[in-house]
Subunit: 204 residues, 2 copies
């Protein structure tokens, strides 16, 4: 397996997180999701909830940051006092992701890891998405979201995530060519997504 | 295999056409590319070259057509005298694709077949794309395009194809959720793309 870092980007409610966890189990490599957030909390001192929300859903209004981020982000100890918290978090989060990738094969879910690790040649970047009906079903069953508000909640989360991704990467969330493989978990199902990804990882 | 109609959309130079042909061979089902164009020529009386170019790369300026097309397109004998040739071609092409899909399992390359067959539940829609370097190499080696102009030619073809797709489908070319599976043929290679698609088709 020459593409040993697997990043999983996903639509909210697509089951992408679970797919990532199952891929990591099958390949016997570390899975970074909550663990990644805990590491970012440790390094930054930020609250877990703040990291969960801000690290994927918020944007700063600073255009300047957006322009200079690629350079700042590779300096692991950059942390000026004047920088908005959301931007500081992005930098620390980026550094943690780069350090994890250095350590060895792993699966990383979300956090724009595909973009953060774009200069590496050993990543396999996956995008998991689904039709609305399957996402609604999953959000109600697995996240316990109120059926009455679920569609609005799904649309809201994906809108924020897309805005966040655009802001920090300059790319459009959901464009196939941001990734190496995109799979519709609604048609394929979660188990098939896992098997297809493991198969592709083993082929490379 | 419950998803028995496989549509292949592709970036120019990605090898998607070849992938489609190899998938059809492996599954032992008909492959429609040149054959589809010949059928459209037979039904429409249009020249093969006109169909090849106009059927995927041109747009009409008629906004009205764009709005009414979904309704027109399901009437197989609609052909008003006043309609621009490109639009007439789209309708005839759409009808031929729908008829082929009715006949049985097959692989159809390009021609917005994913969109034309969107109301069927037995399609597996694939998108094949690649990084620029692999597309340049393929365009020079397989299509004999002059290395001096190859990058411009690739960009031009993809731009026209995206414009055409947007015009006739209202969707953005290359967005993962237009398809069920998207594969980067640059990273995976043509043979792996074939094997992954055949594997997925057999799982469904």
């Amino acid at each position: 397996m020459s593409n040993r870092i697997i990043t999983i980007s996903r639509e909210y409610g697509s089951g992408g997180r679970l797919v990532g966890q199952m891929v990591a189990e099958k390949l016997g490599i570390p899975f970074y999701d909550k663990k990644l957030i805990a590491l970012v909390a440790q390094k930054s001192g930020f609250d877990i909830t703040f990291i969960e929300e801000t690290g994927e859903y918020s944007t700063t209004s600073s255009r300047l940051f957006n322009m200079v981020m690629p350079n700042l982000a590779i300096q692991s100890n950059y942390s000026p006092e004047t920088m908005p918290m959301a931007d500081k978090l992005q930098i620390i989060q980026g550094n943690v992701i780069r350090e994890l990738a250095e350590k060895g094969p792993c699966v990383i879910v979300g956090r724009s890891a595909d973009y953060i690790l774009r200069h590496r040649t050993d990543c396999l970047n996956i995008f998991i998405y689904s039709d609305k009906d399957h996402k609604v079903e999953r959000a109600i069953q697995h996240f316990g979201i109120d059926p009455e508000h679920v569609e609005k909640e799904l649309a809201h989360k994906d809108k924020l995530r897309a805005k966040h991704y655009k802001h920090y990467t300059g790319q459009t969330f959901g464009m196939a060519d941001n990734y190496h493989v995109s799979l519709d978990s609604g048609l394929l199902g979660i188990d098939n997504c896992r098997d297809v990804i493991v198969d592709i990882a083993n082929r490379l």
